[in-house]
Amino acid sequence: MARIHKLGNSVYVAAERVFNWGFGNRWNPFYHLGSLTFFFFWVVLVSGLYVFVMFETSVGRAFLSVEAITHDSWIIGGVMRSLHRYASDAAVITIFAHMFREFFRDRYRDVRWFSWFTGVPTLWLTVILGITGYWLVWDQLAMYIAVASAELIDWLPVTLGSMVLNFIGSEVSDRFFTLMSFLHLLAFPVGMVFMLWIHVSRISQVAFIAPFGLSMGSLIGLVVLSLLKPAVSHAPATQAMVPTELHLDWFYLNIYPFLDRYGPGWAWGISVGTTLLLILLPWLPPRKAKPAAVVNLETCNGCGGCARDCPFGAASMQPRGDGKKQFLLQSMVDPALCTACGICVGACGASNPYRQANSDLLIGIHLPLFTVDALRTQTNVALESLGREEGRILVYGCDHAAHLERVRMPGVAVISLPCIGMLPPSFLDYALTQGAQGVVVTGCRSGDCYYRLGNKLVEERLAGVRDPKLFTRTDRSRILVFWAGAEDQTRLVERIAAFRVWLIAEEAREPVVAVREKAS
């Protein structure tokens, strides 16, 4: 499985490198696949509402009303109908790109199984919504889909097994058509909204809105497409003929040719088999999750930083349970939601390396596998290893971005955290006062944090707009923040080298005497 992840991820990383050049980090569509899908759903909803107003939900009038929408007022109706179709198709592309990306990035296992798991029925709903939409046009394609869908349903042993007779040999009733309209216009969309809500319910600060430029670019692309190639119907549905040639929407209707060739048993087998595989993927193979963050009530002052910053809603503030009357609340961690990213550690107000200098550094919340005391110890060791090299740099990075070992060299020490969001800003000041001439903060690219929010939170903490803030006394010019994904390995090395050259030049101009050097 790891090999599949690595191979697929390398393809994504290569594509993202190109798109980072072309779109810039902020608008790179690969970093906004989920929110882009939401945007396409909005386009589908708005265009669908327009089409619905003009649409007549009866067998006799449906086709004619769609034709009128398409041709009589093509500049609005035709474009709206086309947008409805093309935005739905675009959503399928972004959904699958999103799904594969999360899979290859290994962001679907452990406590993140829930979002993956709930995404599977959302996929089904998307496909069913698309299929039922094509029924409503009531052209030859709709008739073909109706008959083929009925064949699929009739095959199931739990049904009465004669649904297909509604479409051959007898007139299709208006009531059946009303049912289909109800399903497409109300039941499935409501189900979809519900499933999407469930899908994102275990993450906080959800990015529902794609960047404006990216949304507008996509919308303009779809409008131009709608003008150049308007969506049109097949010939009207008739029971006397079967279609010889069909222009299927392969994004939604790909199962039907398979059904014709191999029969409903195989079509169900493939669909259900794929669904089961997707559902079970988070546990294939099973693995032991990292231990969750643990609250230390002795030092938790109930500041709420962990609950505010946790990207997965694992930390929350609850009434105090230890009787300390000066604090109303305490932090609580739900292990079922904790990814052990350590962002709560970086958010803890007590997370300051200057405290408890001669004993274990205890803060309100910690990761059992990587305590903040261990981080301070690693920092001290790293600073020690820098010796008296010129341009001494300590690099704080994360385990999921550019490989930090490749930037390690004489004069450059490296510490890797589970997520850069685990780094309390006070550690930057600490490193600079304890011997480093410069500090580099690096991690996943902006908008692409493995744990969703790490780099964004660090930026806000350093900018002084989020607690815990970087001390005002800290020399910002000696801190380099450079987000570097796996595709930016070379750029990171070059950037650190340039920073080091600058530090050495600055040192020659105005020597910085570190606290440790002073002491010696």
Partner: protein, 167 residues
């Protein structure tokens, strides 16, 4: 300030995205039938004869039953499977058995199958046996039909008239 090349790249990326959607939203065309083909479908529901004939209960049998259930005739619920044959121009297209559905095997059998056939004039013969006690095919109809390209000919069974229909 972004480089002009990056804007060009964006334009190309959006265009490619649109081209992929434009193409796969309608193409490649799917040929359900080949040119020069029509389709014949067998499609009907039919309640077959009971598997065992009803018999008149004896006085002894009636007395064993509760008073409110003493119907003079005893009938089993299970129905016979249906055997259907379809021939075209003397050649067998299909021969299949359709069991009666339901927990007690007492439902109407659903017969459904479809066959692409070459266009032109054909003699179609359909037969059905719906009783385990009957021999041969008590129901049989032959019709000569001229099929056009893409035409759908549905062969059904009219329970009221007790005969096959071609439409």
């Amino acid at each position: 300030m972004r480089h002009i090349g990056s804007y060009l790249f964006q334009a190309v990326a959006y265009a490619l995205f649109a081209v992929v959607i434009a193409y796969f939203s309608t193409d490649p065309a799917y040929h359900y039938l080949r040119p020069g083909e029509a389709e014949v479908r067998l499609a009907f529901k039919h309640a077959a004869a009971l598997r065992e004939p009803c018999h008149k209960r004896t006085q002894e049998e009636l007395l064993k039953l509760p008073p409110n259930m003493r119907k003079p005739m005893a009938c089993s619920r299970a129905r016979s499977p249906i055997v259907v044959e379809l021939e075209m121009d003397g050649k067998n297209l299909a021969r299949a058995t359709f069991p009666a559905p339901g927990l007690h095997g007492d439902g109407s059998a659903f017969v459904y199958d479809k066959f692409p056939v070459p266009v032109g004039e054909h003699l179609l013969t359909v037969r059905m046996n719906d009783s385990v006690t009957a021999t041969g095919f008590p129901f049989q109809v032959s019709e000569k039909r001229v099929l056009q390209p893409g035409q759908l000919l549905v062969i059904g069974f009219d329970d009221t008239l007790q005969t096959f229909t071609f439409h």
